[in-house]
């Protein structure tokens, strides 16, 4: 028996030792160099440029790939600047032909797909290849619509390709994303090795913005040939970083591209090339954002991004100094931000806070095609039953502002003060909601058909606690006007299928802008886009559609803004959406990071980051002094009780023996 005891004690003691010795909370053991640590709150998906659409894939891709144009890292409002284009394009007089000179001497990353493993120089032909592949039906791009109807010959090229591919496949041929890609597309042409010409089919005011998106980056044909489908996990581009390790469910590690072209941090002293008109560079210097003007990129040795999907660990990672940058999850933001200010803890650590209103809108979609929800007064009553202030304070912990219009402030078309079905102070107006409900034919929420309270379905498109709280609040609020709500939990694929089949009544959705133009959100209410298209509330208003069509070819002008405002008013009147909030993104940056100026529109800002590694090491150690004594006390207690009872047990056993 003693042997057993000894064995147990030895084991537990060694376990305790192993436990205590492994008690190092450092999640980056053995790391060398200046590596930026970031966390992503969702998984990245494919890194194949035509299908890059997800936020988190973009964050990786923007460090690896580059396109013709890029966002200026500091200028606000946003401005474009040349990237792989030598300078901004020359545009023909009718605004239809864009000519881009391509930067010389830029090399692709060194990669096994090239002969000898060394990256070759980028030419205009690579751009033709990459942009055409965006429209290849087999690439199954989520972004080809950017060029649809816009680039001359693009639609016809794509349609013949679709038809031919179907024919080839019926004939038993295997078709990949390179099949037929060499066919000429008159709108996208390489004039010579370093000149690219794009011809538009119609004036397209947003065209240049789309060229700064990751859909329009350049990559070599060799990589697609070499990796085939696996190209999605082996991106080869020209960016300042290249992939060293990619585990799509855990982390991505990028190291710096040793042959990166001479790309420098914009320097206000470099007149006139870098000093864009309208860039308030002095403010960027004063506020400590622009710290390394004129220095060559990249300023760090690498980036490690971890996919941390759960809110709590993502926040704790930042709090302990293990990530350099974070948007605090809403539930933890109270620990980081109080009101509009940093919490004392964060302030004492010199954490930098940037609050940015997100370019996007959270809304509750109401399916106007539904038998019940088709009733406009019902929709208005529902909108009035919502206390938007409560939503902002409690569901968003203050990190949002109530949306007055579906178009967020700062985007042309936004209009302050027009919200007929939202009270002046955004609180609920139950009496008026009840009046409207009576007009809708549901006095006090009673459905005349059944004689019972009207029952509506609210669909959630995910299983997170946050979504549950949102739905529960909707139920509480609608109950106040006598309506019962059934919450239905769906996975995102289930929700998608329901929306396509128009089989839902209410759903909580959100839209983030692809580029700063109200057309991007108004398209969600355009009649011809009804389900199975993206007009999920199946809003059908001919007047709205006419205005939308009229505005779509207009370039930015007061006239177009007026049209946008009229459309937004129609939406406010007809309530196909209950427009909820525009979220605020509070960005926290550790004191040892400088240079990067967060933007929620693009992810190109990351590569401007600089790090003070020595400071990071010192502070992280300081913030993470382990507390060992409680564990010691616990172990003592545990063994004390166990040991004590063993001793006691042995004694009684001994006595029994003696007695026997």
């Amino acid at each position: 028996m003693r042997a057993v005891l000894r064995l147990l004690l030895a084991l537990l003691a060694s376990l305790g030792l192993v436990g205590l010795s492994s008690c190092s909370p450092d999640p980056y053991p053995g790391e060398e160099g200046a590596i930026l640590h970031m966390s992503l709150r969702g998984l990245a998906k494919s890194l194949d440029p035509p299908v890059i659409g997800v936020e988190y894939s973009n964050r990786i891709a923007s460090q690896v790939y580059e396109g013709l144009l890029a966002y200026h890292p500091y200028a606000r409002p946003f401005q474009l600047m040349p990237a792989l284009a030598e300078q901004m394009p020359t545009v023909s007089e009718d605004g239809m032909v864009y000519t881009f000179p391509i930067r010389q001497g830029v090399r692709f990353h060194d990669d096994a797909c090239f002969e000898g493993g060394t990256g070759r120089e980028v030419t205009a032909h690579d751009f033709v290849f990459s942009l055409k592949r965006l429209g290849h039906p087999k690439a199954r791009s989520t972004g080809w619509w950017l060029f649809e109807g816009k680039v001359a010959g693009f639609d016809a090229w794509r349609e013949t390709l679709i038809a031919d591919i179907e024919a080839a496949e019926t004939a038993g041929e295997t078709v990949d994303t390179l099949w037929g890609l060499d066919r000429d597309l008159p709108g996208i042409v390489a004039v010579d090795d370093h000149t690219l010409q794009i011809t538009l089919a119609e004036p397209y005011p947003q065209f240049l913005w789309t060229l700064a998106m990751n859909y329009a980056v350049v990559y070599p044909r060799e990589a697609v040939e070499h990796y085939g489908k696996e190209f999605r996990n082996h991106p080869v581009g020209t960016g300042p970083f290249q992939l060293a390790e990619y585990n799509p469910v855990y982390r991505v590690l990028m190291e710096k591209n040793p042959h990166y072209w001479d790309n420098r941090v914009p320097d206000p002293a470099n007149v006139p090339a870098d000093r864009l008109e309208g860039w308030d560079w002095q403010a960027d210097i004063d506020e400590g954002r622009l710290t390394h003007p004129g220095e060559r990129l990249p300023l760090i040795d690498g980036i490690e991004m971890r996919f941390i999907l759960e809110d709590q660990p993502r926040w704790l990672y930042f709090k302990s100094g293990h990530t350099d940058w974070l948007i605090p999850p809403k539930d933890n933001s109270a620990e980081a931000i109080q009101g509009k200010e940093l919490s004392p803890l964060m302030a004492s650590r010199n954490v930098r806070l940037t609050a940015i209103a997100e370019m996007g809108t959270v809304y509750t979609a109401l399916n106007t095609d539904d038998e019940v929800m088709g009733n406009v007064n019902l929709r208005r009553a529902l909108a009035l039953a919502i206390d938007h202030n409560w939503t902002v304070d409690n569901l968003y912990s203050g990190n949002a502002q109530v949306a007055e219009s579906l178009i967020p402030p700062g985007i042309a078309g936004y209009e302050h003060g027009y919200h007929p079905y939202k009270t002046a102070d955004y609180s609920a107006d139950i009496p008026r909601a009840k009046e409207l409900l009576a007009e809708a034919g549901y006095p006090d929420g009673i459905d005349p058909k059944t004689g019972k309270p009207l029952r509506l379905r609210f669909e959630n498109s995910g299983t997170s606690t946050t979504q549950r709280h949102f739905a529960e609040r909707v139920r509480d609020e609608f109950r106040r006007i006598g309506i019962e709500v059934d919450i239905i939990v769906n996975t995102w694929p289930q929700m998608n299928e329901k929306m396509r089949n128009r089989d839902y009544q209410m759903a909580g959705l959100a839209w983030g802008f692809d580029y700063p133009d109200a057309q991007n959100i108004l398209q969600l209410l355009y009649g011809p886009n009804q389900a199975p298209g993206i007009n999920r509330s199946n809003y059908d208003n001919p007047e709205f559609d006419a205005l939308y069509e009229q505005s779509s070819t207009m370039s930015d002008s007061p006239e177009r803004t007026a049209l946008y405002q009229r459309m937004a008013r129609m939406v406010a009147d007809d309530v196909p959406w209950i427009v909820r909030v525009h979220r605020t993104r509070n960005n926290l940056q550790q004191p040892w990071v400088s240079g990067a100026y967060y933007s929620e529109v693009h992810d190109q800002w990351v590569k401007y980051a600089a790090l003070d590694v020595e400071m990071r090491e010192r502070l992280v150690a300081e913030w993470n002094v382990p507390v060992r004594w409680p564990l010691g006390v616990f172990l003592l207690l545990f063994f004390g009780i166990l040991g004590g009872s063993v001793v006691q047990a042995r004694r009684t056993k001994g006595l029994q023996k003696v007695a026997a």
């Binding site: 028996m1 003693r2 042997a3 064995l7 084991l11 537990l12 192993v18 436990g19 492994s22 008690c23 909370p25 450092d26 999640p27 053991p29 998984l43 990245a44 998906k45 659409g53 039906p137 199954r140 791009s141 989520t142 619509w145 489908k229 999605r232 799509p248 469910v249 855990y250 971890r306 941390i308 999907l309 759960e310 709590q312 660990p313 704790l316 302990s320 299983t463 996975t491 995102w492 694929p493 289930q494 929700m495 998608n496 299928e497 329901k498 396509r500 199975p532 002094v625 382990p626 507390v627 060992r628 564990l631 009780i641 166990l642 009872s645 063993v646 006691q648 047990a649 009684t652 056993k653």
Partner: protein, 310 residues
């Protein structure tokens, strides 16, 4: 013996076919349309159709079933629908993290439980017995979610003894799996102690133990020579049966502690209607279950001569 094995394996085939069928039927009802995630915000009808064709979503259930059987036979489940990686690769990536968490936790937990169980059955009805059984019963009455929540909050966040989240392939894993293992052991030890105690007590109550004692053989010898030897049969069989659960059984821990294992993979796959991954992991789990049950039965028979296989 060989005949028995062949018989059991043949019996297992219809079971696996049934598992495949149930998986498919469940997803036919609950799957939704994964193409709309793949195609992004703005897909055209043609593309949706092409995607449906490629994924075989519009096939009839029997056709899909036949396809599925083909995949099982060739061990090739194609590519994940939600992150476009071959299922084989996802599996290879997730196996090590899962096992580095579940195997040590399982071994340590079982060891502590067996030792404690022997100890308390030796000193049965003493204070020790009461302390341990009371501790065990209290331990199993706490929700596993509370163990995880409080463990992470207290040990990692407040006392900074472990990293809150993360994983490192290779030896670095120790740092990250230590806390989940600790929690797992705390979670499982209660149940195991109770089970093994019952087993040991049943054995100690047997006539031969009394006879041995009466013959004056020392307690230690009785305990080790006879009791432990005979207890080992149910203990080993129980442990064998648990093995298949080590693959996806740790999903809560994996979700909370950021261990990129198969449990969290299966969880995300189900919530994203990623059928290929679900199919592969389900078939893997089911096959392991069937195999380890056969092993358990064989072991039972080999170790305990009283039992004959039929």
């Amino acid at each position: 013996m060989t005949g028995y094995l062949i018989k059991r394996i043949l019996q297992a085939i219809p079971v696996l076919l049934g598992v495949a069928f149930i998986t498919l039927v469940l997803f036919d009802v609950a799957g939704g349309d994964p193409c709309l995630i793949k195609l992004g915000k703005n897909p055209s009808e043609v593309e949706v159709q092409m995607c449906h064709d490629e994924l075989g979503l519009d096939l009839s259930l029997p056709e899909q079933y036949l396809r599925f059987l083909g995949q099982i036979v060739t061990f090739d489940f194609g590519e994940s629908w939600s992150h476009d990686t071959p299922v084989r690769e996802i599996f290879a990536r997730g196996l090590v993290p899962t096992l580095s968490l579940s195997v040590p936790a399982f071994l340590i937990g079982s060891f502590i439980a067996v030792v404690l169980a022997l100890l308390v059955s030796f000193y049965r009805a003493s204070l020790l017995d009461r302390v341990v059984t009371a501790g065990a019963i209290a331990g199993i009455s706490v929700s596993s979610l509370i163990y995880i929540l409080v463990g992470q909050w207290l040990l990692a966040d407040q006392w900074k003894l472990f990293p809150v989240w993360g994983y490192e392939y290779g030896f670095g894993a120790v740092t990250f799996v230590a806390l989940p293992i600790l929690i797992w052991v705390a979670l499982s030890v209660g149940t195991d102690v109770r089970y093994f105690r019952t087993v040991a007590l049943e054995e100690i109550g047997q006539d031969y133990v009394r006879t041995a004692r009466a013959k004056g053989i020392s307690e230690n010898a009785v305990l080790f020579k006879h009791v432990l030897k005979n207890c080992s049969v149910p203990i080993i069989t129980r442990m064998t049966i648990i093995v298949p659960f080590l693959i996806t059984g740790s999903f809560l821990m994996e979700i909370f502690f950021g261990i990129p294992g198969l449990g969290s993979t299966l969880y995300t796959a189900v919530t994203n209607s990623d059928l290929p991954v679900v199919k592969a992991l389900t078939m893997l789990g089911a096959t392991l279950y069937v195999i380890f049950n056969i092993i358990a039965d064989v072991l039972y028979a080999t170790l305990d001569p009283r039992i004959r296989l039929q």
